[in-house]
Symmetry: C2
Subunit: 149 residues, 2 copies
DNA sequence: GGTATCTCGATAAAGTCAATCGAGTTACTC
DNA sequence: GAGTAACTCGATTGACTTTATCGAGATACC
């Protein structure tokens, strides 16, 4: 699995939105500025997230984006899969691909690659954005033990 | 981590050479044919493997490539790293990269990505080409319990 | 001397990634 | 109801990477 800027930016945007959850919409410009993402590119990514049901948007003055569900119901794994297309390290162990490996019958490492894929998926699917927020807050204010959303 | 044809082809070539270990050199054409790899492309990959010390070559009639060390001393992990450049899912957790993440101070998922990187490395580094041969042979002749190199 | 084979660097075709742009549409505010 | 702030959407572009392909050469064996 490789994470390109697409998945990276999307995850970072969702982190910002999670940290702002229940406090009204956040504007594209604000997210882009805080995470140093090109605005016009972020625009596209937020649209993808919206169409997939993760975000709600509001137009006009005081508009912006907000989460369509609480941070603890969104995992990093689903976002990466949505943005990157797959998590498989190689096409022959990609469940969403129907392309078949020509050497499958004499391939000794396909099994290993399946293990890799599953290990990665297990880690990413077990982390929600609530957890990501918690970790981000620990970095920003390491001494704080309180927990605000 | 993503495995492109480069790492894929290299690993498959090494598998062929491992299965032929101690039985003299194998020619590029033979390897290419068995694994359905473009000959002129495989040529380049074998050169990389040779320069890195994994292969020996012999020119002229009955020449070809052979392993420079026994299959159990080569891991899939080192080959993937050699061919793909890195195993890190993203630049900010790539130990060989000096590029720094601009958002590190407020990033909640860098830790998760480190976990992913280490999990992948652990799996790939624990598999040698001896093991890969064993698995390939099981596929080719599932009933055989004998073990030949 | 001739043939089989590896060696090496240059080049090219194709695809992907990461934006950038322009022209909308919607909704709020005054 | 005019104006402005904000999201929407599709097209395009430039750079880069991947995946080869090619031609000419060097080496070893018979």
């Amino acid at each position: 699995m490789r994470i390109s800027t697409k998945g990276d930016y999307a995850a970072r945007a969702l982190q910002e939105l999670s940290m702002h959850y229940d406090r009204g919409p956040l504007q594209i410009d604000a997210i882009a500025e805080r995470q140093e993402i090109p605005v016009r590119y972020l625009e596209q990514l937020l649209l993808i997230l919206k169409r997939a049901g993760y975000l709600e948007s509001k137009r006009g003055v005081k508009g912006g984006y907000s989460l369509a569900k609480p941070p603890h119901q969104i995992t990093l794994g689903e976002i990466i899969r949505l943005m990157e297309g797959t998590q498989a390290p190689i096409f022959c162990v990609d469940p969403s691909s129907r392309e078949k490996c020509p050497a499958e019958k004499r391939c000794g490492f396909q099994g290993v690659l399946v293990e890799v894929r599953d290990a990665v998926a297990h880690i990413l699917d077990s982390v929600t954005f609530e957890e990501i927020c918690r970790r981000a807050r620990l970095k920003i204010a390491p001494r704080s033990t309180s927990y605000h959303i």
